[in-house]
C-alpha cells in the first residue's frame, strides 16, 4: 500500500500540485488586479463562482470516467496527457532556451489593471444610457473578469486532476494536490498582496511537462496492452529519460538561437 503511494499516488499528487501552482499564480494576478482596481467583493465572488464550476466539472467527470473500461480509459487519458504535456514541455524548453519570452506576472498585472481602467472610462461615458448604475455595471464586469480568469486557468488544472487521477483511481490524491496548491498560492498572495512574480513559473512548467509526458507515455502503452519492465517503477525511469532529453533540447535550442543571431 505504502509502495503504491510512492510509485503512483505521489507522482500524480506532485504533478497536479506543481501544475496548479503555475495556473493559480496566473489567475491570482488577474483577481488581484480586479480586487485592487474595483474592490474585493466582485473579485472574490467571481473567483468563488469559477471555483464552484471547476469543482462541479471534476465531480461530474471523475466518477463518469470510472464507468469506461480501464484499458480504454488509460489509452484516452494517456493520449490526452501526452498531447497536453508535450505542449507545456515544448513551450517551457523554448522559454528556457530564450527562444520565447518568459511569462511576466508584473506585466500581466499592469495590463489587466489598465484594461479595467479603460472599461471604467468607457462605462462612465455610457452613463445614462443603461438601466443599471455604472457602479453596478463595473462591479459585474470586474466579477466576470475574475470569473473568466479563474475558470480558464483552472480548466487546465481540472483537466490534469481528472486525467491524472482517473487513469489509476487516484482522483482523491490529484484533488488534494490541486487543493493544497490553491490554498498555498492564495495564502502567500494574500500576505504579499502583489503579483507573485518570483515564482519560478517556467521551471515549474518544465517539471510538470516532463511528468505529464512520462504519465502520458506510460498510460498510453498500458492502454494499448503493452508491458512495462518493472511495472510502475518504469514511470521513474520515464521521468528521468524525458528530463534528460528535455535538458539536452534546451541546450540545442539555445545554441541554435545563438548561431542564428550571429
Amino acid at each position: 500500500m505504502q509502495d503504491a503511494f510512492w510509485t503512483a499516488g505521489f507522482p500524480v499528487l506532485a504533478a497536479v500540485f506543481l501544475a496548479t501552482i503555475v495556473e493559480i499564480v496566473e489567475a491570482f494576478t488577474i483577481v488581484l488586479a480586479v480586487g485592487t482596481t474595483r474592490g474585493w467583493k466582485p473579485a472574490l465572488a467571481g473567483t468563488a463562482a469559477a471555483l464552484g464550476v471547476l469543482a462541479l466539472v471534476v465531480l461530474a467527470l471523475g466518477p463518469a470516467l470510472a464507468l469506461i473500461p480501464i484499458h480504454l480509459l488509460q489509452l484516452v487519458v494517456g493520449v490526452l496527457l501526452l498531447l497536453f504535456g508535450l505542449g507545456w514541455l515544448r513551450k517551457a524548453i523554448l522559454r528556457a532556451a530564450g527562444v520565447l519570452a518568459l511569462h511576466d506576472e508584473d506585466a500581466a498585472f499592469a495590463k489587466e489593471t489598465a484594461a479595467l481602467a479603460r472599461r471604467e472610462v468607457s462605462q462612465g461615458l455610457m452613463q445614462g444610457s443603461e438601466e443599471a448604475s455604472p457602479e453596478d455595471a463595473m462591479a459585474f464586469i470586474a466579477g466576470l473578469t475574475a470569473f473568466k480568469a479563474v475558470l480558464l486557468e483552472g480548466l487546465e488544472v481540472a483537466f490534469i486532476v481528472v486525467a491524472a487521477g482517473a487513469g489509476h483511481g487516484l482522483l482523491l490524491e490529484a484533488s488534494l494536490g490541486a487543493l493544497a496548491a490553491t490554498v498555498l498560492v492564495l495564502a502567500v498572495g494574500l500576505i504579499l498582496h502583489r503579483p507573485l512574480s518570483r515564482v519560478p513559473e517556467n521551471a515549474l512548467k518544465f517539471g510538470v511537462g516532463v511528468l505529464l509526458v512520462a504519465f502520458g507515455v506510460f498510460w498510453t502503452v498500458e492502454g494499448l496492452g503493452g508491458e512495462w519492465p518493472g511495472g510502475e517503477l518504469a514511470l521513474a525511469g520515464l521521468v528521468a529519460f524525458h528530463l534528460a532529453a528535455a535538458l539536452v533540447l534546451v541546450r540545442l535550442a539555445a545554441r541554435r538561437r545563438e548561431r542564428s543571431r550571429i
Binding site: 508535450l86 515544448r90 532556451a97 494499448l224 503493452g226
Partner: protein
C-alpha cells in the same frame, strides 16, 4: 457566447497549440498500436519505442523554430 468561445479557445490552446506536435504524437501512438496489433512489435518493446518516437516529435517541434 464570449465565455463559450473563450473556453473553446483555451481547449484549442491546450491540445492544438502546435499542430505538427499534436499530429506527430498521435501518429506515434497509432504506429505503436499498429505494430502491436500486427505482432511486429513485442508488448515489452512498445513503451521504449513510443518514448523514443515521442521524443523525436518533441525535438522536431523545438528545433524547427
Amino acid at each position: 457566447m464570449s465565455l463559450l468561445s473563450d473556453v473553446l479557445g483555451e481547449l484549442k490552446k491546450m491540445f492544438f497549440a502546435d499542430l505538427g506536435l499534436t499530429l506527430g504524437a498521435l501518429a506515434a501512438v497509432v504506429l505503436v498500436g499498429l505494430g502491436q496489433g500486427w505482432a511486429v512489435l513485442p508488448d515489452s518493446a512498445a513503451g521504449p519505442v513510443l518514448a523514443l518516437l515521442v521524443l523525436t516529435v518533441l525535438a522536431r517541434a523545438v528545433l524547427k523554430r
